[in-house]
Structures are given as structure tokens and as C-alpha cells.
Amino acid sequence: MPHVEVLPNSASVAAPGWTYVVDNGYDPSKIAINPKDRKRAATRPGGPRGENELSARQQIAIARRIAELERDNDPKQSIPVPGKSSVPKTQNARRIIQYQRQIKHWLDDEIAQLQQAPPPPPRAAGPGARTAAQPLRRASTMTGPPPTPSEATPGLVTPGIITPVLGNRPASDIDPLLSVDSSIPAPLRPAELEALLSAPPLSYAASHAAPPPSGGPPQRQFCDNCGYWGKIKCLKCGARICGLECKDAHEATRCLKWA
């Protein structure tokens, strides 16, 4: 595939209506539901699918459904603004008011801009909280609780008190078993706090919550028709159904075999 790169050009104008968009490759919500190729499945890099993996066709169907569920406006309907609208006061305002773009165009734009611009070099003063935050974001979110001391006292943390002052007591005064120091979190370091507060906002795409941890409970499956547990799979398309009655309804309406 040829590599196309837009060279930075001082004369380039951000014209409304079109933009360079980075090709992110595969977006399952946008492509057609392909017929499945059973023949070549076994020779694919991952080998044949496992029992609980979804086929490409199912993934596309799910992605489409989610895109449909979170859509704001129906692009097919156009509702004109009633009455005579006042004239925009400046050229700039006219341009903005006449935009007919949807949110997805703006978000694509944002991604494209982030990829075109080189990432800002990490600032010398203190670790940038963003760079510090990124690896954390990838890591598992469900870190276990810190090791609890045998004599942990519940409710140690008083609301609003950030830097506990208990650390000043000489350690020799109290029985190490009764010591609460280990259950009190370390006080905030000002540099760390400064870095956190001065971090720039994340981009929209980067702010999404991570997928559930892989070690967690498996995804629950529901009947495609009535919403009860999906105990059995449709032989034709793999959707879950709860029983014979729902199987008939499923085949009559939603079975992907004929989609």
C-alpha cells in the first residue's frame, strides 16, 4: 500500500468542509457485513476461532449496533430551523454557523491533528503527568488492595485530611503491632501534585474507560429475543438464545445468516 504523507506547508488553509483524515485502518462499524469464509479460517494466523471468540461478522454486527445506539441525530432527517434566522454578524460566525459536520468528523479531525503534530517533548520541570499517566492507563486497573496489617483499624482516613500528621510520633513509643503507620498512605509530594494538576487535558479518544480486566468474570450472554440467559447458540449465526420458542422467533427476524 502506498504511503501518503502530507508535508507541512505554510500555505495550507484549513478550509471548511474537508480535511485530511488519518486512515486508522479497520473500523468494524463502517464496513459491510461480509460473508464468512469458512474455507480459509484454519489457515489464518490465529488458527480457527476458539469457542467463545466472536466471528468477524458478529463483531461487525455488534459495532454497528453500538454505533446506532449512541447516535445523536438521524442523518436521514433534516429539520430546518423555523422562522427567519438573523444574519450572522461576522464572516467567521457565518462560517461556523454554516458547518454541517457531525461530531464524528470533529473527533476524526482531532485524531488526525494529534497524529500529524509531533508529540510535545516532556517538560524538564518534573515528570509530565500525562507521560506518567499513560503507562498506568495500560496497566490492569484492578490492582489488589495494599497489604493490610494484621491490626488494621477501619476508618482511619478522615475526610478531607490529605497529609496525615501521625508520622511525627517516635516509633519506639508504640507497639509495632498497634502501629497504624503502614495503613496510612504516604503524604502527597508537592511536585507530584503540581505535575498532576498541570497535565493537559486528554484527547476525547484517550479519555475512554479501559476494557474490563481479562481475568474478570466472562461476558454475560443473553437471549437475543427475550433477554433471558442465552444458554444455547444459534447454529446458523452463533447468536445466543434461551430455548426453542425464542429460536423460532430469532430465525424469523434477526438471524444473521440471511443478513
Binding site: 441525530n73 487535558p201 479519555s207 427475550c226
Partner: protein, 443 residues
């Protein structure tokens, strides 16, 4: 030519601040005077949409929707998508209709030239959209002065419990804003947003309504055009199951049973929603499920007397809001709200994390679904180390809470003076400077 001293007089006049929480579903607006003590009653909630009815061929702009008598097949145009103002043509029409023109309601109408605007936005707004917004505010509407910030931040200006006299923002506050467009988690430290820890879930009120619409259309009648009605039904009947175990039990109780082994439907959960016919009734209502009647209805409706259409709702009542806690149920690859909270907190130092957990406040319309807070608390507790306190509270009025926080901020002139940018300054320095100034203010 204006008389002498005209300019001075208008500058000296007590400027009011228009506090505007421009949500995707409703806009929350109110005028706040300096040193006033605002309350929920000062907030006006207006639909942020232009609706078109194919039946009476009328177009309803924002509050005109309250006059609508037939919500059948009503199509909506919403200028705000995913929480951000995208379509300024429609938003301008709505603002003009509700805030500026003669059509504006009493107590809201203002002249932008002597009004400050405090506009609240969602976090992680694309910069281009922010720039468009700034330019429209100053160049089209010509507000006297303006400040734009992430709305939930201003919740830090609510008086803490127990109340204290200081006007300082609360130190550590974790806001969970579960709104129409999505659900966001925002840790605040001393009135500043910790940007790196903001997390967003795709699931919001819109997705829940659309999901219910899809389920009802699949199982009963085709209602794909009845967004308004399904939203009403969702608000009327849905509830959050108290725990995953209870969810399983409820699912059993609403199951119709196998072929040849039919079960009686448990009418303590299943309800019949009587659909409005838009002739005698505008709104429907829910009543307990009556199996005898529903069996009779399979036959003919009575020729005389009132006919009624009934939508039975079983597991839809709790399976729909369940998506807030288990988005994977429909294949959205995100952890639920409790998981996202822990993910957000994992960015923070341990001490701050502990303090955030003691002060969690839930705002936004989805928290009105019964059982939401209880479920959140019971799912969060096992994820939090045992020695930490956990305190989850719901805002008194979750829809207007962000607005009230902002109104309290706006009623303190010394706070407002620091952040406002006047039109003269904008004319002098331009929108790039303004965007930079506001993003620095956010730190």
C-alpha cells in the same frame, strides 16, 4: 451618537451573569446577580432541541415542546452531540429563542451586551469546537464577558457538609456525571480538575433510551420512531438491580419459561405500560401486570368503550440500566462505572485516592433511576481497600446540581473577576489567546 457618559453608565450597571449548562438533552440556564444566594429554583430547565412533528406539521423550538400535545413520531434535532456543541445553526436558534428574543421566558431574557456568560462544557472537548464556541459567543452574540469551563468542576463550590464559612472550594471531590451523552468521572482537587484522570463511559441516558427502544420494538410493537415515548417509559419504570445476584433472581422471575413448561409471570416485577393514544391522553402510565387481561386482549379489542394499547415490560425494566454497570452485556468493551472509577483513581497518589473515595458525589439524570446509588456503593466497596472509608452521595437535584455549583461560583464577584474575559480583551487578542487562557485556567 450616544450621550456623553453612556459607556460609563453601562459599565457601572450591576452586571448579571448568565450561567448556562448547555447539556445535550436539556439546557440549564439562569441569571445570577453578584452576591446573590442562588438556589435550585433559579434554574430553568429547557429542552435543547428542535423537534418536528409529521402529524401536525409543526416545528417546536426548545420550550415550545411543552405545548406539544402529540409526541408520536416526533423527530428531534439536537445541536449538542456527545456533550459538545456541534451544530451552531440550531444552537443559535435555541439560544435566541430561549435567552435573547421576546420569546424568552420571564427571568431568563437578557441583553448579551451587559451580561456575563458562564458556559459549562463537557471535559475533553476537541479544541476546534471550543474555538468555534468562543468565536460565536463574542462575535455573534457579543456577550460582555465570558468564561468557559468544564461544568462539574464548579461543584467544588457547593458548601461542604458540615457547612463552613470559607469560600474555598472543597479539597478532594470525585464527581460522577452520568448524563444524557455519556458518563464521566472527574476527580477534583481544590477546585481544579485532574485532567489525566478523567474517564468516560459510552453509556449515557441516550444509549439507554435507544436500547429500550430497540428491545421494545423487537419484542412488541415497532417503536423505532417513538424516542420521546420510550424515554418517558424508561424514566417511569426502570430500576437498577441491587446486585448481580439479585439481577439473576429477577431475570428468573420475569422468564416466560420453556415451551411446554410455561411459568406464571411474576407480576411484582412485570408492569404494563398503558401507551398514550395522543387523543385522550398525552402521557402513559404504568400499572402492575394483569395476566388475565393480557390474555383477553389477544382477542379483539372491545368495539365500544375505551381501547387501550399496553406494553408489558419485564426484564427490560432492569436490564436496560444494568448497562451502566455492565456495558459488556451488549458488547461495549468497557468496565462499568465502578471499574472506571478505580481506573481513574489509579492515576492518583495513594493519599489523594483515599480522600477522593470519602467524597464521591453523583450528578446527572441517570442517577435518578431507583437503586443507582445503592448498587454503585455495593459494587465499589469490594474494589476499595478495606481500611478506606467510602462515601457515595447523590446530589439533591442531580440535574440542576452542576448549574447550582456554577451559580454559587458566579455569585462571588471576586472569583468571577479572575476568570472572566471581556469582549474588548477578545477583540484585542483573538481566539487563540482565549483558548490558551481558558485551558490554563483549567489547570
Amino acid at each position: 451618537m450616544p450621550p456623553k457618559g453612556w459607556k460609563k453608565a453601562s459599565a457601572a450597571a450591576p452586571a448579571k451573569t448568565l450561567v448556562l449548562d448547555n447539556g445535550a438533552y436539556t439546557l440549564k440556564a439562569g441569571l445570577v446577580a453578584a452576591s446573590a444566594n442562588p438556589s435550585y429554583d433559579d434554574c430553568h430547565v429547557l429542552p435543547n432541541c428542535i423537534a418536528r412533528s409529521v402529524r401536525d406539521r409543526r416545528t417546536y423550538v426548545s420550550s415550545e415542546l411543552y405545548q406539544c400535545r402529540d409526541f408520536g413520531e416526533l423527530a428531534f434535532r439536537r445541536p449538542v452531540e456527545k456533550g459538545f456543541i456541534v451544530n451552531w445553526e440550531a444552537e443559535k436558534a435555541i439560544w435566541e429563542h430561549e435567552l435573547l428574543d421576546e420569546t424568552a421566558g420571564e427571568g431568563l431574557r437578557c441583553n448579551p451586551k451587559d451580561t456575563n456568560l458562564l458556559l459549562m462544557e463537557k471535559p475533553n472537548c476537541p479544541k476546534e469546537l471550543q474555538k468555534n464556541c468562543d468565536e460565536i459567543v463574542f462575535e455573534q452574540f457579543e456577550f460582555r464577558a465570558y468564561y468557559r469551563c468544564v461544568g462539574p468542576i464548579l461543584n467544588a463550590y457547593h458548601p461542604p457538609i458540615p457547612p463552613s464559612l470559607s469560600s474555598l472550594p472543597q479539597e478532594c471531590l470525585l464527581i460522577i456525571d452520568t448524563s444524557y451523552s455519556d458518563t464521566t468521572i472527574l476527580p477534583l482537587y481544590s477546585g481544579q480538575l485532574i485532567q489525566a484522570a478523567v474517564r468516560r463511559l459510552t453509556v449515557g441516558g441516550k444509549l439507554l433510551t435507544n436500547y429500550l427502544k430497540e428491545l421494545a420494538s423487537l419484542r412488541h410493537y415497532n417503536m423505532m420512531e417513538e424516542t420521546y415515548l420510550l424515554n418517558e417509559i424508561k424514566e417511569a419504570v426502570s430500576f437498577v438491580a441491587p446486585s448481580a445476584q439479585q439481577y439473576t433472581t429477577d431475570l428468573e422471575r420475569t422468564w416466560k419459561g420453556r415451551l411446554g413448561d410455561k411459568r406464571a409471570i411474576d407480576s411484582s416485577i412485570v408492569v404494563d405500560y398503558v401507551l398514550p393514544d395522543y387523543e385522550g391522553s398525552i402521557h402513559g402510565y404504568a400499572r402492575p401486570h394483569d395476566p388475565v387481561q393480557s390474555r383477553m386482549r389477544r382477542g379483539l379489542q372491545p368495539l365500544q368503550g375505551p381501547r387501550e394499547d399496553v406494553l408489558p415490560l419485564g426484564n427490560e425494566r432492569f436490564a436496560v440500566p444494568e448497562l451502566l454497570f455492565r456495558p459488556t452485556d451488549i458488547g461495549i468493551q468497557e468496565a462499568g462505572i465502578p471499574g472506571a472509577i478505580m481506573e481513574s483513581l489509579s492515576v492518583l497518589p495513594e493519599a489523594m485516592k483515599a480522600a477522593m473515595l470519602t467524597n464521591i458525589v453523583v450528578v446527572g439524570g441517570n442517577s435518578l433511576i431507583p437503586g443507582f446509588i445503592e448498587r454503585l456503593e455495593s459494587e465499589l466497596r469490594p474494589l476499595v481497600p478495606t481500611e478506606y472509608l467510602l462515601n457515595v452521595s447523590k446530589a439533591e437535584d442531580p440535574i440542576k446540581h452542576n448549574w447550582l455549583g456554577a451559580a454559587r461560583f458566579a455569585s462571588q464577584p471576586e472569583l468571577l473577576k479572575e476568570v472572566l474575559v471581556s469582549k474588548a480583551e477578545y477583540d484585542e487578542r483573538g481566539s487563540t489567546w482565549l483558548a490558551k487562557k481558558f485551558s490554563w485556567g483549567e489547570r
